[in-house]
Structures are given as structure tokens and as C-alpha cells.
Symmetry: C2
Subunit: 86 residues, 2 copies
């Protein structure tokens, strides 16, 4: 069993109004030392796979095909083997 | 300068229909070895602070006050010092 942690966020060139709203609101309530904000999505998947490489290849394909909009979003992920006892 | 990476996701007891839809759709397109899916939000903040402890305390407060709905969501975060050169 493998556990994948996947982070999807906008590419740097894409305007992110949600992040701007958070940054401006933080400044308004006194947290004006926050310099940058970015907002993204976080996915956790557990899956069975014959080995680490197969799990990584499948997670990469799932990101491309479903979890990320590759036109505007970038993703990165980590895959870890889970102990059999878990 | 400190960088905070914040993960917000539903508490385990809260039903997450979006995660269920992803899991069912993956099974339909052949990825039926994916056992569990969870969906959350991911935030990156950079901020200035006198020290690590102050940065962590502020990020914790920001999560409580703005980024997470503490009734239904749990959060965890890491705070790292950035090199001055960055």
C-alpha cells in the first residue's frame, strides 16, 4: 500500500483572486507582515501498486487526467510506502 | 522571513462528497486500486516575524481565524525560516 500526497496550485503566471482576497483581509485585521499568499488543493490517495515506481507513474497520470487542470495549474506529489501493519 | 505550508482538510467524521466522486470516477476509468481519497486545501504564506515561535503562533491564529472552519475542518502546518538571500 502506498500513500500519495498531492499538491495542486496555480502556475505563477495565473492571477489568483482568492489568494489576493486573503492577503488583503489579513492586512486589514492586522497581519500586515504576511508578504505572499498562495492557495491550492491538497489530495491524499492510498493505493495498492506492485512497487514505488508503478505507484508514482499512476499518481502522475491521475494528476494529469483528473486532479489538475494542466493548462493553468502545476502539481507536485510525494509517494510513500505504508507499513503493512497500517 | 518565514514560509508556512498549511494543509486544511475535513475532520474524519465529516462526509466529503467531492472525495467520493473522485474515488468513484477513478474506479470507473480503471484506477480501481485506489483505496481512499481525501481532498483539502493547501496554503503557502510568507511572512516576517522576529523568530520561529512567533511565526508559528501567528500562523496558528490565522488558521483559526480565517483559513480553516474549525467546526468541520482540521489543519496542520509547517513553518520554515527562509534564507535571507531568497
Amino acid at each position: 500500500m502506498f500513500k500519495a500526497e498531492i499538491y495542486v496550485s496555480y502556475k505563477p503566471s495565473v492571477l489568483d483572486p482568492k489568494a489576493e482576497v486573503i492577503k488583503n483581509t489579513l492586512a486589514r485585521i492586522g497581519d500586515d507582515n504576511v508578504a505572499t499568499v498562495s492557495v491550492g488543493k491538497y489530495f491524499e490517495l492510498t493505493l495498492t501498486a506492485p512497487d514505488q515506481a508503478a505507484a508514482e507513474a499512476q499518481v502522475d497520470r491521475i494528476c494529469d487526467e483528473m486532479l489538475a487542470n494542466v493548462n493553468t495549474e502545476a502539481y507536485h506529489f510525494t509517494v510513500k510506502a505504508l507499513e503493512a501493519a497500517q
